[in-house]
């Protein structure tokens, strides 16, 4: 299955088992979503469970909250990353704090799905990486899968989670990676990073679509590098990061979002708190530039690539410990 199929399959599994799950979003019904992620689900489960919504993102999130606090488990979709910003008000001022404000009387089990990132030569506002905005909100979990198998297990966990989750799907790898994915439901725990490759000389930390290029870079350098896929960027799995860096003494962090206040900055701070005395070299980060995502003609220049990752790794490894 590719990631589109895996996510579709996860939704199908969960909807079959739990009638309180409803989907809503723009063009997700008959059209099956602009990336076809919800293809066939409206036919199978009906229009009252797979709702084509009016064109209003803040409304989609707002009504999802209302449904969630009255016992449904909405899985809304926002069509593109750039438009997920208008839901910030509902997420920040409501979804994130309903449990806290009501001292547990109400809670808000919503899994908000949305494609993320560049690499498909899309129009303006369709190639953004706004995960940090949501990761900064207390009470919100932010999950970003790195491939089909991961996507299915993490999505099922997100839907079953009793609290709000923002689930960003890297659109660049929607169809680029095929993996064996079980048809049956399975879960991958939220908040737990995955050590994809073990090693002793350096820790490479990434998430989402750049895991693939990171692994390729590591293979080509033929060194003993440990690669961590964060899976969940909030809450961060600090424990896994710290014990890895304590072992390797070196780290490189890779993400597409701009550098300023990105997730890498938080990871560096945590390494500083938990593994400072084990460090043998300054940490490097490979990130997007602190500028607006350029239109298609310069998209590749903005985006990361294997070479940029290799360069950072080589630099960190070259520092004498």
């Amino acid at each position: 299955m590719n990631m589109v199929d895996a996510i579709n399959n996860a939704l199908d599994n969960e909807m079959a088992n739990d009638k309180s799950i409803v989907l809503l979003g723009e063009d997700i019904g008959e059209d099956g979503g602009v990336f076809r992620v919800t293809d066939g689900l409206a036919k199978k489960y009906g229009n009252n469970r797979v709702m084509d919504s009016p064109l209003a993102e803040a409304g989609i999130m707002g009504v999802s909250i209302g449904m969630a606090v009255m016992g449904l488990k909405p899985v809304p979709e926002i069509q593109f990353d750039g438009f997920s910003i208008t839901i910030l008000d509902q997420v920040y001022n409501h979804a994130s704090r309903i449990r806290n404000r009501s001292r547990g009387l109400y809670h808000c089990p919503i899994t908000l799905r949305c494609p993320i990132g560049g690499g498909i030569r899309a129009l303006e506002h369709h190639s953004e990486s706004p995960e940090t905005f949501f990761a900064h909100i207390p009470g919100i979990k932010v999950v970003i899968p790195s491939g089909p198998y991961e996507a299915k297990g993490l999505l099922i966990s997100s839907i079953r989670d009793p609290d709000p989750v923002i689930f960003y799907e890297p659109k660049r790898i929607y169809r680029a990676i095929k993996e064996d994915v079980p048809e049956k439901p399975y879960t991958i725990p939220l908040g737990k990073a995955n050590i994809v490759r073990e090693g002793k000389s350096l820790t490479l930390i990434t998430y989402g679509s750049w895991l693939r290029e990171s692994l390729e870079a590591v293979e080509e350098l033929k060194t003993d590098i440990e690669v961590i896929d964060l899976r969940t960027i909030s809450p961060l799995d600090t424990g896994t990061i710290i014990s890895s860096v304590k072992k390797t003494g070196r780290a490189v962090i890779v993400h597409e979002a701009p550098k300023n206040l990105g997730i890498a900055a938080e990871i560096m701070a945590r390494i500083n708190e938990g593994a400072f005395y084990s460090l043998e070299a300054p940490i490097e980060r490979v990130t997007g530039y602190d500028t607006i995502m350029p239109l298609a003609s310069y998209e590749q220049l903005y985006l990361l690539n294997k070479e940029k990752i290799k360069k950072a790794i080589t630099k960190v490894l070259s520092v004498k410990g």
């Binding site: 008959e30 009016p54 064109l55 899309a122 500028t291 003609s297 220049l301």
Partner: protein, 356 residues
């Protein structure tokens, strides 16, 4: 219970689909030359559209949203604007740009993913706005600026039926009413928002009636009738200069896919679009012009040829353009780039240099 208020929604059609004038009284004052110019602009818009779809298929530009079927709504409304009026378009308003004098090459360039194509000097059309509905408050704000400056100018906000679901639309309309903005709201109701038919977008029977809630006039016009669109926009602008906003709903039809990335057959039977061909805005206008002896067949042909040449030249000149310097992806963030960002600028330059 008693009724304390009643409202009406006017409908304007001047030219029916057979090319017959059905409302002489409403006929706008346009010279023969101007009528011919309108026809030329519609033909130009369609030729530009066809070329864009072709270029996209060949990989020479990227995603493109077709205006096919909406030529009258775009050209008719934009032609009514005076020099100082400004338009705030969405992503489908290529006909508005062309009518206001933008060159095809600029529009092609934008669709090639080049920022330089997004704005054109001296045409008074703002950059396209892709986040649906987000430009409507800008049109209100611009209209508030004109009111404040006591300027005889207005702003026109373009948007689709889908955007009327967004808060932006309602907030923009409410502000315009409250602040007597010099603003015209022009909705092209092409009856679809990607796959969603307008009947599922709103329970309201018309979009025009939504103006009533905000205290000003809403009118529906036959959006494939260029004379009606022109007349309604002209009247609305005259009102707007005095601080009275109007919502114009142009009822039209999206003849093509939503964009080149869309496949409309997934949610709409091709026969359904086919049925709308008889309402084609160009056909009926041409029929009228010929019958009224404003245009001859020979002149019509000449316009076709002229337009073809213009579009071809546009393709040539945009494809001959060199890419802009790589560092411009960061250079336009601020008037002066903060020192803090200079290392990033240098890195961008270096990487661009290395990848040459």
């Amino acid at each position: 219970m008693k009724i304390i208020k009643k409202f009406e929604v006017p409908y304007l059609q001047i030219l029916d689909e057979t090319g017959k004038i059905v409302s002489k009284r409403e006929m706008p004052k346009l010279s023969k030359e101007e009528l011919k110019k309108l026809y030329y602009l519609m033909v130009l818009s369609r030729a530009f559209d066809e070329e864009s779809i072709l270029l996209q298929r060949q990989g020479r530009i990227y995603t493109y949203a077709s205006l096919y079927g909406q030529e009258a709504a775009q050209v008719g409304s934009a032609y009514a604007l005076e020099k100082d009026d400004i338009a705030f378009p969405s992503f489908r308003e290529h006909g508005v740009y062309l009518t206001r004098g933008a060159k095809p090459e600029a529009l092609f360039l934008y669709h090639k993913g080049d920022e330089r194509g997004a704005s054109s000097k001296d045409v008074n059309v703002f950059m396209p706005s892709i986040p649906v509905g987000s430009q409507i408050p800008h049109a209100t704000g611009a209209g508030m600026a004109f009111a404040y400056q006591k300027k005889k100018a207005a702003a026109i906000g373009y948007f689709g039926d889908g955007s009327t679901s967004k808060g932006d639309f309602h907030e923009a309309m409410n502000f315009a009413g409250v602040f007597n903005a010099h603003t015209v709201f022009l909705c092209q109701n092409n009856q679809f928002a990607i796959s969603l038919p307008v009947a599922e977008q709103t329970e309201a029977e018309t979009i025009a009636q939504k103006a009533i809630a905000y205290g000003f006039k809403g009118i529906r016009v036959d959006g494939n009738d260029i004379l009606a669109v022109y007349k309604a926009t002209k009247d609305a602008l005259t009102e707007a200069y005095t601080g009275k906003p109007t919502l114009i709903e142009c009822l039209t039809y999206r003849m093509g896919d939503h964009t080149t990335s869309d496949d409309a057959s997934k949610y709409r039977k091709p026969e359904e679009a086919k049925k709308h061909e008889k309402f084609d805005p160009l056909l009926r206008f041409k029929k009228y012009l010929i019958k009224a002896k404003i245009l001859t067949e020979a002149e019509g042909k000449k316009i076709q040829e002229q337009v073809k040449k213009e579009v071809e030249e546009g393709v040539k000149s945009f494809e001959a353009m060199k890419p802009y310097p790589a560092e411009d992806i960061i250079n336009y963030l601020f008037e002066k780039l903060p020192d803090e960002l200079i290392p990033e600028l240098d890195e961008i330059k270096k990487i661009a240099e290395e990848s040459k």
